[in-house]
């Protein structure tokens, strides 16, 4: 008896339905249309930098025309990076690099020549140009420093037998500066100077040169004028300063000068002028407010006196004298309304009288 196998598969040749199914599948597979083939279009890679080489080619030419060779070389490097297959940028970089090198060497030689001849300005120009064409030129950079800076220190080669004291005497002509030699030598090691060692010791300037008096500033000039009691000139200068911008010091000079002038007029009993000058002073300055109040009162009294005198002349038909008195009244008190009105009337009458005559 055939033994029944439990692990028999449907495609096993011995199984009939499996065989049919397999053949059917093969048949259908053969008759079916082939699967569509993927047609992959070529990838169009847009180059967003396509304009850059042309732009920097143009810039390189412009920079070269402007004698800016390092910038021109950099522009060509940009072109070369984008167009490595293009021989032009490579050739241009080589050409310009040689040109820049030649320029750098020419300027360095000229700079050193001028430096030897102590023509500092020309040396500086050529050394800077050498650095411009070859920024890494250490010789140009060091020579530039030499050309520009006067030595700040003394370079001293220590000899056998030198001590800090002997060096101080030799260089500074002053044994008291021994500590200075020790300090700057000792900043590198503690101990006496060693033969062969190079010391950099600061130059010591002599006593301060007698300074020329500095030209006085406007405010100093104004102060000086005030001190010399040239009040009008002090005021004029200080007012210029104030017109330029607020200045407490200038304002002080103005107040002080007007105040002093007003006191002078007061001494001379020229009260009107004194009051006018006090009015130019800040009320808080000194006793300005008190002076103005007292002067105003005094002038009012005097004005009234002259007004009354004028009235008496007017009644006596002495018009010219009356006019003179009332003019004095108004000078003493410009706000004297009655004097102003009467003066106008008297002048009109005098004019009419003169007309009749």
């Amino acid at each position: 008896m055939r033994q029944h196998s439990t692990n028999k598969h449907w495609w096993d040749a011995g199984t009939y339905p499996g065989l049919v199914l397999l053949l059917g599948m093969i048949f259908f597979q053969a008759c079916a249309p082939p699967p569509p083939r993927r047609v992959i279009p070529p990838v169009v890679r847009k180059d967003p930098f396509r304009n850059v080489p042309a732009l920097y080619r143009l810039k390189a030419r412009q920079k070269e025309n402007a004698r800016d060779l390092p910038a021109a070389i950099f522009c060509w490097r940009i072109v070369q990076s984008f167009r490595p297959e293009d021989p032009e940028p490579r050739a241009e970089i080589r050409r310009l690099s040689l040109k820049a090198k030649a320029e750098a060497e020419k300027h360095l030689a000229l700079g050193l020549e001028y430096l030897r001849n102590k023509k500092t300005g020309a040396a500086r120009h050529h050394l800077l140009m050498a650095l411009f064409y070859r920024p890494g030129d250490r010789k140009a950079l060091e020579s530039l420093e030499k050309a520009l800076f006067p030595p700040e220190a003394i370079t001293y080669h220590v000899k056998k037998g030198d001590t800090n004291l002997s060096i101080a005497k030799k260089l500074y002509h002053d044994p008291q500066k021994t500590f200075l030699v020790a300090y700057f030598a000792g900043s590198r090691h503690n101990g006496p100077p060693v033969p062969g060692e190079i010391l950099y010791l600061p130059l010591i300037e002599g006593p301060p040169p007698v300074k020329k008096p500095r030209p006085l500033t406007s405010i100093q000039k104004a102060r000086s004028l005030f001190a010399r009691k040239k009040y009008r000139e002090a005021i004029s200068l200080a007012e210029n300063i104030v017109a330029y911008g607020p200045s407490k010091s200038a304002r002080e000079i103005i107040n002080g000068s007007y105040y002093a002038l007003a006191l002078q007029k007061l001494k001379e009993n020229r009260l009107v002028e004194a009051r006018k000058l006090f009015e130019m002073v800040n009320r808080d300055y000194g006793k300005t407010a008190d002076y103005i109040r007292n002067l105003t009162n005094q002038l009012r009294v005097r004005a009234d006196y002259h007004y009354k005198k004028g009235v008496r002349y007017f009644l006596d038909e002495k018009l010219a004298r009356a006019i003179s008195e009332w003019e004095t009244t108004l000078r003493l008190n410009p706000e004297h309304a009655r004097a102003r009105a009467d003066l106008k009337k008297a002048r009109a009458m005098l004019k009419n009288l003169n007309g009749l005559q």
């Binding site: 279009p41 890679r45 847009k46 940009i78 800077l128 950079l141 420093e145 950099y200 130059l203 607020p246």
Partner: protein
Amino acid sequence: MPQKRVALPPPKPRIINTRVFADFAAVIVQPKDTLTSLAGKYLHDASKGWVIAEFNEVNELKPGQAIIIPLRPYNRGGLSPNGYQTVPVLCYHKFSKTISDRMTVRAKDFEGQMRFLRENGYHVISLDQLFGFLTFKNQIPKKSVVITIDDGWRSTYDIAYPILKQYNYPATLFVYTNLITGNSKTLSWDLIRVMYRNGIDMECHTKTHRSLHWKRGDESFRQYFDAVQAELNESTRVLKKKLNKEIHYLAYPYGDTSHLVIALLKEKGFRAALTVKRGTNPFFQNRYRLYRSMIYGNYTLNDFKRNLKVFASFR
């Protein structure tokens, strides 16, 4: 049976927007790109947007634009066939909201001066950046300016600091340490620390603000030497202790210096020192005698402009 061909949609072209070479990177600007972001990405320093702007001669970027980013300094020392770059260093002392005198600049004027710098394309750089330029190592913006303030008056914090912060300008405050008492007119160390943490560098202006140039009449040379040493050592020690930073620069009191002072500065490791001699600094300027222009309180904008020369012609 003929094979039927089915056309598939073309694959999206692969667009390369960046190419990096040894000396430069070429970039197609994307909508989100700015000078700052590109500088941060390619130059590893977001503040170097000016490198891209200056090389490509643009003020701003447009999407789709091809730009070149130089990866190394391409013009150290600001040299050109016609001349060389110079850097103005401005020097202020005191500020006030209302009054101005020689040493006091009104807030309105200071703000106007800072605005002028911004509107006219100047870049305010730090002293460290200036030092890189002076050593012929780094390139700086063509129109570079350094701002310094001397002494340590309270108005630096009350008036100048908010304006500098508003414009995001770095500055250096040269402190003379004896002045820092924190009274109504002077700064305190707390205020100095606040400014230091926010872009204001603090450097040395000695201890007592004595002139380092000449010995006093009653001093021996030794006493003078010791006094100069003390001025430098003590102020540096205090600044280091209070701010936990190294001190590299000195502003000479009254701008006075001498060979001896310079020798001491070199020996103590100072990188540079500033005078108050009016002028601007090329890269080959003596680093221990840097020019610095005082900006006075009565300066008009035209007076201010005269101190901003950034190029010296050979002729």
